[in-house]
Subunit: 136 residues, 2 copies
DNA sequence: TTTCTAAATGAGAACGAGTCTCACTCTAGC
DNA sequence: GCTAGAGTGAGACTCGTTCTCATTTAGAAA
């Protein structure tokens, strides 16, 4: 649920999320805030991120390791992501092709209320130049 | 790594996975085996599933909750899934359209070594008829 | 401005999926 | 049948996330 009060903690999470280049975990965000001198609690970071996701102010996806990652997205509404597995940099994608495909394929098999998870992972030009296959 | 010995535990996991309609979690599989009278350990179920995935005898994906789910897939090689969120029933999809799209979009943004996560979730005809939106 | 109340917070306990350890078991080669 | 060592099971452990509850505080009302 979205909160009824504005707190500096909520603003701090929003700001920290906004200045991150790509997707970050709740733990990373919490650590970054603590490193910046904040006394914010981990539970609050989780709660705030969940509420930002609920109000469409943030996007979330699962890392391949199963961790939840968050990002403050410029594009409102449904979209997908192309994420650099080197530096985490993220490109937002709209993909009508994929939307149509998923609806069509779903219908072909008698499925309704089709939802889909579509995310691309790759190596951005900068990381490739660095020969940086994995490190952040 | 694939094991060098055949054990009844490995066969039991393979069989139990094969008779599951759709994707199941390691925990579910372990419980099912225990319920069936097996004394198999949870660690063994995890180890066996990991090795089945490694030898392409099983597919794995993350549930929206972040749990790893497993399935014994008929289609070898790369493919995607259309999964009923009611009963878990699964349709295997090949999607050249999506493969091409992901490569193209990646290239357009200067990304290489593109990998992708593409899964569709919906409600199959049977579950819709039952008015069954969520339950298993 | 002060008061008041319940929303929001923080610390840490609890939870759950998954991994690791290690003594024991059992496969398979001899 | 004997044996080595691969495989197993119980449970401790890790780590991300959620819950609990006493405390703090935003913001409406006085």
């Amino acid at each position: 649920m979205q909160p009824k009060r504005n707190t500096w903690q909520r603003e701090a999470v929003r700001a920290s999320l906004a200045q991150a280049r790509g997707f970050v975990s709740a733990q990373q965000l919490h650590q970054a805030l603590r490193d910046g001198g904040s006394t914010i609690g981990l539970a609050t970071v989780y709660r705030t991120l969940a509420s930002l996701v609920e109000t469409d102010e943030a996007d979330t996806l699962q890392s391949p390791e199963g961790e939840s990652l968050y990002r403050s997205c410029a594009t409102k509404g449904h979209h997908h992501h192309l994420i650099c597995r080197g530096c985490g940099d993220t490109v937002e994608l709209s993909a009508n092709l994929v939307e149509e495909w998923s609806q069509r394929v779903g219908a072909e098999h008698g499925f309704t209320e089709i939802d889909h998870v579509v995310d691309l992972f790759g190596l951005c030009a900068r990381c490739r130049a660095k020969g940086d296959g994995a490190a952040a």
